[in-house]
Symmetry: C2
Subunit: 164 residues, 2 copies
DNA sequence: CTACGTGCAAAGCTTTTGCATGGAA
DNA sequence: TTCCATGCAAAAGCTTTGCACGTAG
């Protein structure tokens, strides 16, 4: 699946530097540490996860809590990250650059977030927005329910239902 | 537009009382004050709005902050309310009983929430969920962007752009 | 030398909770 | 008398901010 387009082949750090430049800001070692860290894998994450990780490291390899929060906001502004849901009262982030648009099924039992891509939804939203003269810049769709894994009755203890 | 179905013709307070009974709880004057208040109009609202309003009133006509928060959660459980978005760091609620399913366009300029109903979206979500063996219980869809009103250049002060 | 950045600690906010008091059944 | 409820004040928990100090250009 190759969805890369126009500017999506330069790496996130570079894209971030460009964004910062347009705002008269610099790509500091701390900011770079944050981009590198969050782009190392395509997992969903929240701010505290990286605070725990990055605020321990040496000076030029990590960043403080304040800097992490400030940088995450900048990354969202830059179009590199997307605030995609909320779990345990924390904002959940994910990459918004270099990956195809998608939404999530969120399991209320185990918290798992299952990604799915569906063109019908985005097309429909376009139409609805147009019909209202609304200029859509993005959306956030959280589908709540129980995932297949959690629906399967526990294998260990049979007959558990009888206990209820 | 008459969408009322099976049990949707008894009033919210009564439905709440039934729900509470199944949990061995009572419909107190405080709880009743909350249901009545939030069901008086079909507007979107957040908890603090009603804290400001109801916590001022006399004993049996209002409710304290704690009771309001606790009651709102019960109303969500009961299927009477739905947490539909988040604005200014507050949970936004709306009726989930007696009104057809819908989602929202949220203007990032003025904060306005425009309701829209679209069957294609719910149908698509059903399909996606089924395909993943996911039992969907609901969803939350927030479409971000700028509404028609805010897109129109301000009429009052012409040439405002020159001032920037 | 001037502006931008960082880190720390404190503040800000919404929402939740512990606890003592009060009331319904 | 036994639970369920309320209200108050405090706690919790994430995120933001004021401020003093550094440092790049």
């Amino acid at each position: 699946m190759h969805l890369a387009a126009f500017d999506e082949d330069i790496d996130p750090t570079e894209k971030f530097r460009e964004f910062l430049q347009t705002k008269g800001m610099r790509l500091t070692p701390e900011r770079e540490a944050v981009v590198t860290a969050v782009y190392a894998t395509h997992d969903h994450f929240d701010a505290e996860q990286w605070v725990a990780n990055l605020s321990q490291r040496g000076r030029k390899d990590g960043a403080s809590r304040s800097t992490i929060y400030r940088t995450l906001s900048l990354l969202v502004e830059a179009g590199l990250l997307r605030r995609v849901a909320r779990a345990n009262d924390r904002e959940v982030y994910e990459h918004d650059y270099g990956y195809p648009q998608h939404d999530h099924l969120i399991c209320s039992k185990c918290g798992d977030m299952i990604e799915f891509a569906n063109d019908v939804i985005s097309e429909t939203l376009e139409k609805v927005a147009n019909a209202h003269g609304f200029r859509m810049s993005g959306h956030r769709l959280e589908v709540e329910g129980v995932c297949a894994k959690c629906l399967r009755p526990p294998q260990r203890s049979h007959r558990r239902l009888d206990m209820i």
